[in-house]
Every structure is written in structure tokens, then in C-alpha cells.
């Protein structure tokens, strides 16, 4: 083998692990997290604490309740990001709904994210956050869909990622009363939570960006009281430069879910 070829091969081997471990990052290490809600309302907008970057993943995830069903939410922002909104209506009480909405910013700057319900008497609460390093053209790795759990103090779901270095986001919902403390699973960081939204829906959103291997991950929380919960989970894939292997988008739309 020529000396130059051997040198290039060695250089490639040295650089490979660095590239494979380049994870998706939460912008500002949490400083872009914010929370919003509306009670007996139609819509509310929350401003990101700082300017968002261009081509970053922005998410709005939380939960809603309405006495005769929530309907289809609309999520938008002042940067004109195109959002994909996934909703899961509880199998136990379809008036409760958990959601994750996401999009890739078309430009940088100040940004207010607005969640709008189709009916005036709706209760919603959610958190927003921003991540860099997500594939802007094809952000979704796997849509893990929604599940309703039995009553438990350790609610969880699972998701099987298809690429290395995926970002996993989970959203949890349950009915408040009694007010219940929510703790993210040990491998997760909390984005936002509301433990008592006017005594209607409680939610918690969490993420992990250390899913270095394409495998099955548990998405879990700990509650102070056993509850019936609803969970929605999505995994996002890194830019081509950061991921060591890539696959087509996984998709699973289950019962009660709408796009």
C-alpha cells in the first residue's frame, strides 16, 4: 500500500470516531426552554428566550384537554417554520391529547411559537426548545407514536432508533388531581412540565441526545402517584456528517393518532 494511502487511511480512522459521536445538541444547554399554556382559550404564543438559529430543530410538545374533544391543533411561529404536528388521543378518555410538533427553522432571529386549538374552550400547556445538528432536510428518524399506559408510577414507552446519535423526545400526559410530581427518567433531561394546568392536564417533556447506537430505548418517567398516562415519542436524526449510518424514515401511525 502506498505510503500516502496508508497515511490517509490512518487519518480517516482517527477522525471517524469523532464524527460518529457528534451528537445533536440542545441549543444554549437549556437556555432556550420555555413554557406556555392557555386555559379556556383558543391560542397562545410563547417567545423563545433568545434568537433561534437557522436550520435548527424547534419543538413544541405538551398536552391538551377539552370537554368534548380537542380536535386538530395548529402550530406555527414567527420565523414561518413549517411544523409537523403529531397528536395522540388517550385510549381511556379521548378528551385528553398529548402532542409533539416540530419543524426546521428557515432563518435565524427572534421567534414566537403559537399553538392554536380549533375550539374556544380548550386547555393546553406545552414547552418549547431548540436543537442544532438535526438533519434539516429529513429530521425524523422514527415516529414512535403514542401509547396509553395502565395506572403506574413508572410510565414508559419504547422507541427503536434507526441511526446512530439520534435525539429522542418524549411527551407525557395524565389527568391532574391529585397533583402529581413528575421526574424524568434517569437518562433524560426535562424540557418543560406542568403538574397542574388549572386542574386539567399535566404534562412533562424530556429528551436524550446520547442515543449513540441504533437500538431500542426506553422513554420513562417517575411519578409520585400511580396514574394512567399517555406518551408520545419521536426520534430525530443528525446531519449526514454527524451520523455514521443512515436509514430511511421509520413511521408508525397508531390508533387515535392524527397528523
Amino acid at each position: 500500500m502506498p505510503r500516502l494511502t496508508r497515511l490517509l487511511l490512518l487519518l480517516w480512522l482517527v477522525l471517524l470516531p469523532t464524527a460518529a459521536h457528534a451528537a445533536i445538541a440542545e441549543v444554549g444547554a437549556g437556555s432556550q426552554r420555555a413554557k406556555g399554556q392557555f386555559d379556556n382559550g383558543t391560542t397562545a404564543g410563547i417567545a423563545f428566550p433568545g434568537n433561534v438559529g437557522n436550520a435548527n430543530l424547534v419543538i413544541a410538545a405538551g398536552a391538551c384537554w377539552r370537554n368534548t374533544g380537542v380536535g386538530t391543533l395548529t402550530v406555527s411561529d414567527t420565523r414561518t417554520t413549517a411544523y409537523t404536528t403529531r397528536q395522540y388521543f388517550s385510549n381511556v378518555d379521548a378528551n385528553y391529547m398529548v402532542f409533539i410538533a416540530y419543524g426546521v427553522t428557515p432563518s435565524s432571529g427572534a421567534n414566537t411559537v403559537t399553538v392554536t386549538a380549533p375550539n374556544a374552550n380548550t386547555y393546553c400547556s406545552w414547552g418549547i426548545d431548540e436543537f442544532s445538528g438535526v438533519d434539516p432536510a429529513n429530521p425524523t428518524d422514527v415516529d414512535g407514536g403514542g401509547v396509553t399506559t395502565a395506572s403506574t408510577a413508572s410510565p414508559s414507552s419504547t422507541i427503536t432508533t434507526r441511526v446512530a446519535n439520534a435525539l429522542i423526545i418524549g411527551a407525557l400526559l395524565f389527568e391532574t388531581t391529585p397533583v402529581t410530581t413528575i421526574t424524568p427518567g434517569g437518562s433524560y433531561a426535562q424540557i418543560s412540565e406542568e403538574e397542574d394546568n388549572s386542574a386539567h392536564q399535566a404534562f412533562n417533556t424530556e429528551f436524550r441526545n446520547d442515543a449513540t447506537t441504533a437500538t431500542t430505548y426506553t422513554v420513562d418517567w417517575a411519578l409520585s402517584v400511580a396514574r394512567v398516562t399517555d406518551i408520545y415519542v419521536i426520534a430525530f436524526q443528525p446531519t449526514a456528517a454527524a451520523g455514521s449510518s443512515r436509514a430511511g424514515i421509520g413511521f408508525g401511525v397508531g390508533p387515535g393518532m392524527i397528523d
Binding site: 392557555f38 379556556n40 383558543t42 397562545a44 417567545a47
Partner: protein, 138 residues
């Protein structure tokens, strides 16, 4: 005497570092068009911001209200959006999950970092609305 003054100073510093509740009152009136809600200083470091409005008269589906909240970090020279909320009129009583009639509407946001002044607007679309409410923080 010096020790007493030092203790008093420390107590004042501790008091100023904590969150002091504050509010902008939306006085009872019949509103139409856009009403400015005056800029109000923020004392301390609040963590939550909440808007509430009486919606007893908000029963006409063609009449909506929008409340926008802005904050300043430089005493009112420049302003940025903190958040907003809106509600379309809804005919008939609204009940909560316990079946109780609800006559207020509102929203809440994370308190904007570094805000030392807040202001807002109440806008009525499609007609007029008799109401009252507040923007409050703590």
C-alpha cells in the same frame, strides 16, 4: 452600629433578590379596538407570568380578543414580545372537567429573562366586549 447597618443592608439585598408579585390591571369596561395596557416596573426576579380575563360576555363567536405582552430589559427603551393569547367567542356555558361553569380565560408563559418592565395590549376583534382582567407575575 456598623454591624446593625450591615445587617440591614444584607436584609435589603435579600429582599430585592426575591420575586415581588406585580400586576397590570385591565379595568372593567366595554372594550373595542385596541387598548394599551401601561408599562409597569418589575421588582425582583419573578418566574411566572399569567394573563386572565373575564369571558362572561365573550359568547359571540364572531367576537375575539387578543392580549399581547411585551417586556423590556432596559427600563422601557426597547420592547420584545413575551407572549400572547387569544380566544374566540363561545356560545353557551363552558364547563371544566368537573362540570363546573368557567367564566375566566387566560394563559401563562415563562417569565422573560432579565425583564424589568412589562406592558401589554388588549385588542377586540369583530365587535365589543365587556370584561376585566389582569396580567400578573410573581
Amino acid at each position: 452600629m456598623r454591624a446593625l447597618l450591615l445587617l440591614l443592608g444584607l436584609l435589603l439585598m435579600a429582599a430585592s433578590a426575591s420575586a415581588a408579585p406585580g400586576q397590570i390591571v385591565i379595568p372593567v369596561a366595554r372594550y373595542s379596538g385596541k387598548a394599551a395596557l401601561p408599562g409597569t416596573p418589575v421588582i425582583g426576579t419573578p418566574t411566572s407570568l399569567r394573563v386572565s380575563l373575564d369571558v362572561s360576555d365573550n359568547t359571540d363567536p364572531t367576537v375575539a380578543w387578543v392580549i399581547t405582552v411585551e417586556y423590556s430589559t432596559d427600563g422601557g427603551s426597547t420592547w420584545q414580545p413575551a407572549g400572547n393569547c387569544a380566544r374566540n367567542g363561545f356560545a353557551g356555558p363552558v364547563t371544566d372537567k368537573n362540570g363546573q361553569v368557567v367564566t375566566t380565560s387566560g394563559c401563562a408563559f415563562s417569565f422573560p429573562n432579565g425583564a424589568n418592565r412589562l406592558r401589554g395590549t388588549l385588542q377586540i376583534l369583530g365587535g365589543a366586549l365587556s370584561t376585566l382582567g389582569r396580567i400578573e407575575w410573581e
